[in-house]
Amino acid sequence: MIQNRRVAILYSVAAFVALIGLADAIYLTIGHITGQTVRCTITSGCSEVLGSRYATVRGQPVALFGAIAYFTVFSLATLAAFGYRLVGKLLLLIVTLMFLATLWLLYLQAFVIHHFCQYCLLSAAATTTLTVLVAIATRASR
């Protein structure tokens, strides 16, 4: 029972972190669509990153895929926290894929675009935290 409680807390925290990532990704998606962050401004690394060709995949903003992913993770983590343990494996798979995507995006910012945007770094932090939390929760619930 104590073990179960610990797992529930881990998944709850994961759901909360996913919410932060979701808010961040929605903000960036809307910014991309309305062009708020895409113009170049005097003080910015964001416009370099968000205005680059790596900010879109097949014409859709990367942030939109992020928002969908974070919402999925939030939903699954919430279900897992309430005892739907079957979703745990799916959640681990999705979070792992997100973590790999994050590594790729960080690589692009550091070595290709040579600029970092703070919203993208926030998202990287959120995904990394999620990966750690979900990995621990998966181990603990075995």
């Binding site: 979701l22 309305t34 005097i42 205005g51 919430t78």
Partner: protein, 225 residues
């Protein structure tokens, strides 16, 4: 009851996410139209400095629509806007006049100022627009280079300019002054980013000129007035 609880939370969060998206969308759309002072693209003050003279103009003097661009040759969004404007210029012909103003953003773009100098130096030999086009068309190539001088000299020679004079003009006071005067005009308008576009003296938000369709709509609106 408890079984449905997580699903209720998920639905609430989905609703909240959509509401937040809608709110940001509204906020982004509202600010330029109804509150010009907050949009970053304020209205043109009547006593604005004229900018560098003679200005770089493309198109007919008697055109009913004048589009004034504050641009930075190294700015990626300006590079994306370049083909949009080209297409529109072709489509509108003598009904559209385009003015280019230098607004190099030197903080994010290390070669922006050098590019502005190169374009203005070409301008002193009457080939500003040709250099303007070359700079935008090859933006990705030179923006990544360490030393842009040989690249720009290559463009000058490609355009048939007197390269020795071009090299001297790049660092001349005449070129410095032109960029400074365009900057004065930009600052009086409150320009903060690039590309910033004015159509018949009215600043328009980015989403109203980022695509050919959007820019067409903005120009048609000005023509209808």
């Amino acid at each position: 009851m408890k079984r449905f609880f997580p699903f209720a939370i998920i639905v609430i969060v989905l609703a909240g996410a959509l509401a937040a998206g809608w709110y940001w969308w509204k906020a982004a759309h509202k600010s330029p139209a109804s509150e010009p002072s907050n949009s970053g693209i304020p209205a043109v003050p009547t006593s604005a400095p004229a900018g560098a003279q003679p200005q770089h103009v493309r198109g007919s003097e008697t055109a009913p629509v004048t589009l004034e661009e504050f641009g930075d040759f190294e700015c990626p969004s300006c590079g994306l806007f370049y083909p949009v404007l080209k297409t529109i210029e072709g489509a509108y012909g003598s009904r559209l006049r385009v003015i280019f103003r230098e607004f190099p953003l030197t903080t994010p773009h290390p070669h922006a100022l050098a590019a502005a100098h190169a374009a203005e130096a070409a301008g002193l030999q009457g080939r500003f627009w040709e250099m303007h086009d070359l700079l935008y068309e090859n933006q990705e190539a030179w923006a990544k280079a360490f030393d842009v001088r040989p690249i720009f000299e290559g463009y000058a020679s490609k355009l048939g300019l007197d390269v020795e004079r071009f090299k001297q003009d790049q660092t001349s006071e005449a070129v410095d002054n032109r960029i400074f005067l365009d900057g004065l005009r930009a600052h009086s308008f409150g320009v903060q980013g690039t590309p910033t576009i004015y159509i018949n003296g009215r600043g328009i938000p980015y989403e109203e000129f980022r695509t050919v369709e959007a820019l067409r709509a903005s120009i048609d609106k000005a023509l209808a007035k």
